[in-house]
Symmetry: C2
Subunit: 460 residues, 2 copies
């Protein structure tokens, strides 16, 4: 079955496989058209009704396919504004000369998921590597334990118990290449033992949806309100696992409230389900002690994941899992086949950074720095653009700004911002932008926040 | 359909899924029994005839399933000796105290794939990291180019062109987490564009078979004789890709002869097929200049893969691909979803090690060291155990020893060796052992080679 239609860009020729279900065929045709660029970011898709008629399939089939691809991050949608192709987070290959500016024409990049890269403690990291390598046995440089270096797992277990209140046993810690790699390992292990449906917060970080979907499970959107994910609905969704960000939901920034935490745990216990806890930035909490890890409530039902991408830098590609015992072996079996591990050098350096206390000192320093930026931003907003409502500012590197109806829309605001060399990030399905105040280099942070508030004050 | 049978270990209960083909069901039941340890390494499987009768399936079905699992490395077989469960290269989790000896009771581990870990240039690596970090821009520590750091790709392209005669463009270099990760990326990209059957050398490194199979392609064994892989047979095998080790086949150690190289390239050109070139240890060649990379003959048909695991250490998990242009985008699309990358720190350090010339100096030093060990071993064998025939000694870290029929078999020899604290590695399907002389630490190398030759002289 094949069909050509006209998007806002060029015409698209869509070929549906004749084997398998129509919904699968449609999803996979759309995915490859988006991946290989035939459907460019921003292209508007036909309405579900029109496409269903064109292809001769039930409208429900198209609705479900669009929903799945939204959950995977391929599509964006807003009520009344139709469905369009999302900007996939594929970093565009940059020219190979390091001299070329990384972000052409952008002075202030408010990337919502990036910390201040200029703050990476380069000297402390190198010193930790040198100290660690001084005593590391030769065997540490070979094909090692698939869970990661024992000294790092031990330090991580101590750290997670102390700082996140987790029930942490070094034997159940698995070092991985960032949170998303850990999420992929957990989802593949769940799929291998029969999981078919996994709940994922809606909205969520689109790459997480894509990573989970690549494991071969179906994503089931889970609504999020101002009290966190609707874990009270999990039972009804007939899912075998749920990916949650209890401490600081992305992108909304809400904290999962106590009754919702209890509901998640009860659901997992009653159904044998697994919660995947995304604890990506809990250390960076400003207004009070961070909420403890959900994992502590049900260590045998929560696969906990953390990362150094926010506290240090994403370029380290360093994350960790703390696993229910029954997931450990299946995950190690995957690792044995794929053989993808964090280099021994970085594991040795990070273990030494944790052991010496330098890591926690760094986190404290960064927390103070980001809190000052946040206070400044929230204060200026209150004074200069009181109609703009900041959300989720209690933690992390970013704030969500709900925009008033009386001014430019989120996408118009992003366009205005670009003309002033400001990069803002719209939120799918909501008239809001994400402002990553953490991403600015310290020497430019004040100027960046001022430029942003100037723009907002003029607009609303 | 379910069946219990008695292996040389405990009884095994095998449940076949009722959906899908019988062959798939049987393969997958055996794979999970082996993965989760119900079928232990060394267990003997029933004959194909007996199992077919027990399960009520055609004997051909069992023959094909056994063949596939042999190619994937789950099973071993020798003519007349039946089929058994192979020792999967799943590193056994070690206790978490670093003080515990890594290899209990083993004094000389002749691991065939491991270099001398004691030779890792720790100080030079740390110095390269410090120097590299001094000038690396902040942006290098963020979410970077999915191909890897530009300065590393540039250095790798220069190195591959100079040392391996490759046609190397930095834009087509992709930094990955070791060769196997690169192989997995290539196989998944091939599968995504329709490849169904991939030829793999028989015998080969079992983990490579498993990694390729995990990409969802069917493995087709390709025979290897004393002139290298039988690339003249590729056309007949109806495969879309072939994984070859032209410079130094693993484990046999043969070099692909010129007519076989030509046949591989002709096949790829004529059929649009892809050769995956495993160039894991070509720098360590002793008797003459290494044979140039096959990639240079057909850059648009060869996906070239290299690694620092043999020249430096496996614990760095550092490899690289040099790709045909049409494979670049699909592979970057996978990377965008899986988000698994080599840390910026190691990329920066390795780029600086290459730039400064320290890497090539290190390789030269190691080549001299390994050549001395090899000469010593081959000389002692000639004198003390002339019936033992060394193969594939012209390069690399290991030699294959074909054992004479008049003494202990390979598995008996390995057992004798173990009583003397020597760890030797049998070769599946051949009365031979692999001796990794490279793996010994320098201070123990002479003693290890002597202990080995004592054993061989007494045995044959």
């Amino acid at each position: 079955m094949s069909k050509t239609w006209t998007t806002s860009g060029p015409e698209l020729h869509l070929v549906l496989a004749t084997s398998g279900s129509r919904r699968d065929a449609l999803e996979s045709a759309l995915r490859s058209a988006i991946r290989d660029g035939r459907l460019a970011a921003g292209s508007r898709l036909p309405s579900t009704r029109a496409l269903a008629a064109d292809l001769g399939v039930a409208r429900g089939t198209v609705v479900e396919a669009y929903g799945q691809l939204r959950a995977e991050g391929y599509l964006g949608a807003r009520r009344g504004a139709g469905t369009w192709v999302a900007a996939l987070r594929v970093d565009v290959p940059r020219p190979s000369r390091p001299a070329a500016p990384a972000t052409r024409g952008v002075r202030f990049d408010f990337h919502p998921g990036q910390p201040d890269l200029s703050a990476f403690p380069r000297a402390a990291w190198t010193a930790a590597l040198r100290r660690g390598l001084r005593t590391a046995p030769d065997a540490s440089l070979g094909y090692g334990d698939p869970r990661g270096r024992p000294e790092l797992r031990e330090q991580l277990a101590l750290y997670l118990a102390r700082v996140r209140g987790a029930v942490a046993d070094p034997e159940r810690v698995v070092v991985c290449c960032g949170f998303r790699h850990g999420l992929s390992l957990v989802c593949r292990a769940l799929q291998a033992r029969g999981a078919k449906r996994v709940a994922i917060e809606q909205p969520c970080a689109p790459p997480h949806g894509a990573a989970a979907a690549a494991a071969g499970v179906r994503l089931v959107p889970l609504a999020v309100d101002e009290r966190g994910a609707r874990t009270d609905l999990l039972r009804r969704l007939r899912v075998q696992a749920a990916v949650l960000g209890p401490a600081h939901q992305y992108p909304l920034g809400v904290v999962l409230q106590p009754d919702r935490r209890a509901a998640a745990v009860e659901w997992a216990r009653a159904s044998g389900g697994v919660v995947v806890e995304d604890d990506y930035d809990a250390e960076l909490r400003y207004d009070r002690q961070p909420v403890g890890a959900l994992q502590a409530l049900a260590p045998e039902h929560v696969a906990y994941g953390g990362t150094a991408s926010k506290t240090l830098v994403p370029g380290l590609r360093l994350g960790w899992l703390l696993l229910p015992s029954e997931l450990l072996d299946p995950i190690l079996a995957f690792r044995a086949v794929e053989d993808v591990h964090v280099p021994a050098t970085d594991q040795i350096a990070f273990a030494e950074l944790l052991r010496s206390g330098a890591y926690e000192r760094h986190v404290r320093r960064m927390r103070a720095r980001y809190r000052a930026r946040r206070d400044r931003l929230v204060g200026m907003l209150r004074e200069r653009a009181p109609a703009v409502r900041p959300l989720g500012a209690a933690a992390g590197l970013r704030v969500l700004l709900d925009l008033p109806a009386h001014g430019p829309s989120a996408s118009e605001l992003c366009e205005h911002a670009a003309t002033r060399s400001l990069l803002l990030y719209p939120v799918a399905g909501r008239n809001a932008v994400l402002v990553g105040y953490g991403a600015l280099p310290e020497h430019d942070a004040a100027a960046g926040l001022h430029a942003l508030c100037d723009l907002l004050a003029e607009s609303y």
